[in-house]
Amino acid sequence: MKSIRDYSSGSALENVNKAIAEAKADVDFHSLLCLTEERAIARAKKLDDGGKKGRLHGVPFVVKDNFLAFGGPTTAASKMLENFNAPLQATAVERLEAEGAICIGKANLDAFAHGGSTENSAFGPTKNAIDKSRVAGGSSGGSAVSVALGIVPFALGSDTGGSIRQPASFNGVVGVKPTYGTVSRYGVVAMASSTDTIGCFASNAADANLVMEIMSGQDRKDMTTLPDFWRDDYAFTKKKVGVIKPFMSDSVDIEVVSRVREYIEKLQGLGYEAEEVDLPMAKYSLGMYYIVTPAEIMSNLARYDGIRYGHRSKEAKNLGEVYTKSRAEGFEAENKRRIMIGSFVLSSGFFDAYYLKAQKARTLLVNEFRELFKQYDVLVGPVAPTPAFKLGENTTDPIKMYLADVMTVPASMAGLPAISVPAGVTQQGLPVGAQLIGDYTSDRALLELAEQVEGVI
């Protein structure tokens, strides 16, 4: 894997050429959907010609292909947007470019970010960086694998219910899902508005910290962004971590639990006291998530109607068919499943029983977390119940696939920052991630803590 420091000596053009060569060498893993080669090289040459040197001067990166970015289509890994060329760039991409970073490609994902394995991509799955027979995780699988393979030192992803943390865990890289509202969602294909967050993958916590610092901060184009808090003096003073008991149960892979325990021991070595804590609402999180999120997905995908842009069926003979056939052809099975669930839970007469109830339960979950953060700096647990599973293993059983999100959705539903950090590997050599969940806006402190742990041998 590469770190940002590895790019400090070379020229921007050398860096970009190296990254593009590495990307082209990835013929097995399918981490990227396209290279933005021409634009990347042009930008590199321009940067080498002089001008202000930003903090990421000449550093190559990739973005999940649900970020609007120049240099290639923004497909969201769907046939719906296969030929969609964005007329503008996401705020996150703009901010990184302003610091001299160079986007060299667009990474694979589950279509519209729906999934936890990148198997739902309309263009074929991404394979796990450590074991090609296994999934990359998802939905930001391509981004995680491109960092794990050393193509780029960092990659952007979006995390709605675990889409950064889980592939980070499966590929042994650092993955950051920030506090809701930390990074502008402007220019990122929306999945679920109330839990979508923009974050990153990196090989180490310090790099992730720098990338997040650059991307974070209020954006007038996204009303839900928070004022910039990244440089605020947030420090962990309680020196206590809570180990989330229901996440360490027998239903979780024993090796995963062991690696996480070892990670906790390192935290203890740094002077943190560890106590088991309960999170009774956690077991309802998945239920809440798979009501609220599909509802928001149904709504956010309504714009893909074949009228103004995106796929339009050639078979359509009237307006009704433009809608039904274009959407039937343009969306993947998982997209359709979630649209149907969302339509159902929002339908007249069911709103109170499902959506409203889920939102009330969400408030209870938020309250439980709030109570815990009165006593603990950080909550710790695994990211996923298992290491990366086999390709095809869960594709026929959506419930089993959804269950893989059980430990990542609570922080998403509560809007809390959560990071996935490498905690070692299984006997088979598969990476295991530990998840650190912090209180609102403790993001930087979480990453600094992870950096400290990285220093512990």
């Binding site: 947007l81 402007y186 714009r303 109607d305 103004r308 339908s347």
Partner: protein, 486 residues
């Protein structure tokens, strides 16, 4: 007694008001699409591109707060936006952003004056903010989409079913229009659909405590069509029921050429809009201070003008005609405050006759409230009124000068002098002319008549004096002198 008298009609009106903001509700696109090429007032947000997020226009919120004042309605301290889902090519996001659960304007009322002088109070259930959709133009075999109007801020004012006649429906619509334009909430250009009325109508046998099934006549954009559609629908429904047929709950359209309503779609199998909160837009949270500060900017509203002018003893018809122009109303009130009731009353009558002359009196209230092109100086108007009061100028000439002032002329005294309109009130000068007239043999008959007690005959003599003085003699003085000299 006709069969129509056996029924009561019940009407509730939903009114969409386009807000007079510079930009759209959630984007920086120009909100004034009048006479613009299709799809030129559009940003990626209005186009519903992937990854676009709404940015709430605070000016629209401020106008909604002002509308609340005009509707006598409190403003919600917390209000939110929701999404209403349906598929149509003029709706780029596949949902309309609106306020379903927590609207910004709470319950209020409108007091609408009827032609007979009575007042109809119509309660407002609530009013909410929402975005307008675009526009489709259908051709043979294809349709074109224009998104210039997509995202235009609206408030939808929902009345209670408190209206029980077509005339009251019209009175409510008219008053609502005046309130919204006076408060500066909308430009009020009815031709461009700045205000559109959806009229819900049902009929029930007199004495019944159950309302009948209703129909909704959508998208009416004049007060007259509101009235006619209500009349037509009421009669149609009664005829239907009298024939023993079943009323269907449906949406109907108004055919202005034929003056009839026609069925558009049944509401029996109502569409499910799958409303949900819009997580992209944080709640609008307002403090009492903010609301007060914004509402303090609302100028005088029609009701307040009516109250003020009641002291002037103006006719209701004069008052209504004056309210057709907010600038006139403002000027009259300013004169009333500066120079007193008499001066104001005189000016009010001038304005009123000018408005009736240009055809926008109380009868023809379809004309938009005209708030531009008013350059009359209050000082000039006051001067003209005072000259008239002091009989320095005849009332006929005063009206003429008033029209010149409206047309942009200045300084009424100079105008009067130039046109020899100033009345001569010098007794000596007029006395000389009177002597001349009385000596004229043509006056003999009139003189004889007056002496015989036919007092009206003096008119002829005064007329002669005026003629000889080229209209400049003070007629009152001339009359007095004639009497003295006879």
């Amino acid at each position: 007694m006709s069969v129509y008298d056996d029924y009561d009609m019940t009407i509730g009106i939903e009114c969409h008001v386009q807000l007079a903001t510079k930009t759209k509700l959630f984007s920086t696109a120009d909100n004034d699409a009048r006479d613009k090429e299709p799809n030129t007032c559009v940003t990626p947000i209005d186009f519903g591109l992937p990854g676009m997020l709404p940015v709430l226009n605070r000016e629209a919120v401020n106008l909604a707060i002002k509308a609340g004042k005009a509707l006598n309605a409190p403003i919600a301290r917390v209000s939110r936006f929701d999404r209403k889902h349906y598929y149509y090519p003029d709706l780029p996001k596949g949902y309309q952003t609106t306020q379903m659960y927590q609207p910004i304007i709470l319950a209020g009322y409108v007091d609408a004056p009827m032609d007979d002088g009575s007042i109809v109070r119509v309660r407002i259930h609530h009013a909410h903010m929402e975005e307008d959709a675009g526009k489709l133009t259908h051709f043979n075999g294809y349709s074109l989409v224009d998104l210039n109007r997509a995202g235009t801020p609206l408030i939808e004012i929902v009345s209670e079913p408190d209206i029980h006649s077509a005339a009251a429906a019209r009175a409510y619509a008219t008053e609502l229009y005046r309130l919204m334009t006076y408060a500066g909430v909308t430009h009020g250009d009815l031709y461009y659909g700045n205000m559109r009325f959806d009229v819900n109508i049902s009929v029930a046998k007199k004495g019944s405590n159950v309302l009948g099934k209703r129909t909704e006549v959508k998208n009416l954009n004049s007060f007259r069509s509101v009235e006619r559609a209500a009349e037509y629908e009421c009669k149609r429904q009664i005829d239907l029921l009298e024939r023993g047929e079943r009323m269907i709950q449906e949406t109907r359209g108004w055919n202005d050429d034929k003056q009839i309503t026609t069925s558009q779609r049944s509401k029996e199998d109502a569409q499910d809009y799958r409303y949900m909160p819009d997580a992209d837009i944080p709640p609008i949270v307002l403090t009492d201070e903010e609301i007060e500060r914004i509402q303090a900017e609302v100028p005088m509203l029609p009701g307040e003008y009516r109250e003020k002018w009641a002291e002037l003893g103006l006719d209701k018809s004069v008052i209504n005609s004056l309210l057709a122009n907010q600038n006139y109303a403002r000027v009259i009130t300013e004169i009333q405050e500066k120079s007193g009731d008499n001066t104001a009353k005189r000016v009010a009558h001038w304005f009123s006759s000018a408005l009736i002359a240009e055809g926008s009196g109380s009868e023809a209230d379809e004309t938009p409230v005209d708030n531009v092109g008013m350059y009359v100086s209050i000082d000039d108007l006051t001067a003209l009124a005072e000259m008239t009061e002091k009989a320095e100028i005849s009332s006929t000439n005063a009206k003429e000068l008033f029209n010149e002032l409206l047309g942009g002329a200045r300084d009424p005294r100079a105008l009067a002098e130039k046109q020899h309109m100033l009345q001569v009130s010098d007794e000596g000068a007029i006395g000389a002319i009177v002597d001349e007239v009385l000596a004229d043999p043509a006056s003999a008959t009139s003189i004889a008549d007056i002496k015989a007690g036919k007092d009206k005959a003096i008119g002829y003599l005064v007329g002669q004096v005026m003629k000889k003085s080229k209209g400049q003699a003070n007629p009152g003085l001339a009359q007095k002198l004639i009497r003295e000299k006879l």
